[in-house]
Amino acid sequence: MSAADRRTFLKSAVGLGATTLAPGITLYAFGPAASAETAPVSAAKRWALLIDINKCPSGCDLCVSACRKENGWKSTGHAATDAQWIRKVTLRDPETGKTREAPVMCQHCANPACVDVCPTGASFKRADGIVLVDKHICIGCRYCMMACPYKARSFVHEELTDQKTNAPRGKGTVESCTFCVDRIDAGRIPACVEACAAEGGAAMTFGDLNDPKSDISKAVSAAASSQIRADLGLDPGVRYRNL
């Protein structure tokens, strides 16, 4: 082995060792932002959302319009088939007549029914709790839509135009709220949460439930919150206060 060969070999060995033993450290060399985007998703985090519906004014749809703008879904005039990643549901107590509104989207369950029933594994849950659809292997069977108790998913019924590069969609496949996964991976918060905080009632708190110092963890431990259809045992990552 010549000196040059030996040097090349040592270099690649060091490189291999570094990527195998300390990938985090190697990536960190490129700066924190790059690290967030390329580091493997870890189960150490559980992304979650807390919505205080007392702070969610009737008629306000900032979260919905922010989601539309961010992810590119919109009304085509076909209400029954148009996708809705997030919607405001009006709840009326039949006893008292009192009404309230709650934003409802994919609840990012810990035990998602959509993931269980998906024949191809296109519906999947990331290690950090975000439930997504892999548009490349979704065959459009719609079994996940039958299985989701939250009516969170939409089927793309027609040709799409003007898609957003950050949220690719596809005719004949199923889609739903991604928690703005591309933003999360870039260290930002979902568009709905941002809009609600900036111009709305600041009803939404987003963060890592596994981090006791996060705002959401503190908020959840400070006062009672509930999950929609908690009885089903799916352990949704979206929690509500004053529901």
Binding site: Q84, T120, I137, Y143, M146, A147, P149, S154
Partner: protein, 400 residues
């Protein structure tokens, strides 16, 4: 007992050719409809984000359920050793495969991305009952194919233990398969109309009924074509009796299914909807499934008389049972979906996404064409198979 003889469908009447042409036209329009749906998306169907499975699923599930039931006759002959059914075992096997292929074709062509079918073969999530079903369906075709081989191969058919073993495997497999089909609905915790273990036995019992009705109708049709009596009086009696038993079993499971839900205050809403206030779904249930699809054909069979009258009664009853089966699937699949999901029990809810609202569904022409083409696909496969190989029993000469 005389040695059984079998024959191919070697002579066809002009009316039979007419029927074949009709089936070909139906299949062609069905495929055209599927292409149209694929090109434009499901916007051209009556389906929506509220009713995600429409008429194609009604036909597909109906055919898949019928397929496993069509194997009845073969099972009765080899598993339960009833020799009278043996002449029909081959036909029952090939019909089972044909019906399954017809149902699967519709199911696949209704996918949002049917061209990605290969993905479903390569990527499997084994927690999904849909993924299990992929193996149950292909396994069914392979096992029934092997079963037919054992029945039809000169040497293999000599071995009684092999025949018995294959009969048992096929019988067990068809029970598991229909358990799987029923559980597609039974496992759905989200929807109140489903989420019940009884869906599996209900589907099994329905499969016995529809499968036998299909077998009987094909046999009667073939009797006409071959100008020979493939179904002697004795078999008319046996088939009529079996159909009545299967109709009552299905009715029994249906009653238990609804009573169980009705008893729970939480589910009274969905039951009131399906049984009383559901409009077209209530009519489909009471008039379609119960009156036309159960009580009327049972009465027809009960008062069937004998000879020609009994044969006509059996024909009519079988047609009515199949009609009832489609009605039953319509109520289960569509009726179960239009009833809104209950996200907030105890609250009246509304939204732009139709929360709390009863969904509306009107099948479009492409869906009807695609759904009906499943039946034609099955019939064409069966006819072709019978033309090529000896699936039909050779009627014994009169007086022997």
């Amino acid at each position: 007992m005389a040695k059984l003889k079998f024959r191919t469908l070697d002579q066809q009447s002009p009316s039979f050719w007419g029927l074949i042409v009709l089936h070909l036209v139906v299949v062609a329009t069905g495929l055209g409809a599927a292409l149209y749906m694929e090109e434009h998306g499901h916007i051209v169907t009556g389906m929506s984000n509220q009713v995600v499975w429409g008429l194609p699923h009604v036909f597909a599930v109906f055919l898949i359920v019928s397929a496993s039931g069509a194997l009845n006759v073969a099972s009765v002959s080899s598993v339960f050793n009833r020799l009278a059914y043996k002449p029909y075992a081959r036909l029952s096997g090939i019909l089972a495969i044909a019906l399954l292929l017809g149902g699967l074709a519709v199911l696949v062509l209704d996918l949002g991305r049917p061209e990605r079918l290969i993905v479903a073969v390569i990527n499997n999530n084994f927690k999904s009952i849909f993924a299990w079903n992929i193996y149950l369906y292909t396994g069914f075709i392979a096992i029934v194919g092997a079963y037919l081989f054992v029945m039809m191969d000169r040497r293999a058919s000599q071995s009684a233990p092999t025949m018995k073993a294959m009969g048992w495997v096929a019988f067990a497999w068809r029970l598991i398969l229909t358990t799987g089909t029923g559980s597609i609905f039974g496992f759905l915790i989200a929807r109140e109309a489903y989420d019940a273990a009884i869906m599996a036995p209900l589907f099994i019992s329905s499969s016995f009924l529809y499968g036998l009705a299909f077998t009987v109708l094909v046999l009667l049709m073939m009797s006409r074509e071959t100008l020979s009596d493939l179904m002697p009086e004795e078999m008319v009696e046996k088939f009529s009796g079996l159909l009545m038993i299967f109709a009552f079993t299905t009715l029994y499971f249906t009653i238990v299914q609804h009573l169980t839900k009705l008893y729970a205050a939480a589910h009274v809403g969905v039951e009131t909807f399906l049984l009383r206030d559901g409009g077209v779904y209530t009519i489909a249930f009471w008039f379609g499934q119960i009156v036309i699809g159960t009580l009327a054909p049972v009465a027809v069979l009960f008062f069937r008389g004998s000879g020609f009258s009994a044969r006509s009664a059996l024909t009519l009853a079988s047609i009515l049972f199949l009609f009832g089966g489609l009605a039953q699937m319509y109520v289960i699949i569509i009726g179960g979906q239009v009833y809104p999901l209950k996200l907030f029990p105890g609250m009246d809810v509304s939204s732009s996404f139709f929360d709390g609202a009863v969904g509306s569904y009107v099948p479009s022409a492409p869906e009807v064409l695609l759904g009906v083409s499943g039946i034609s696909i099955a019939m064409l496969i069966a006819a072709l198979a019978m033309r090529l190989l000896p699936f039909l029993p050779q009627a014994e000469p009169k007086g022997s």
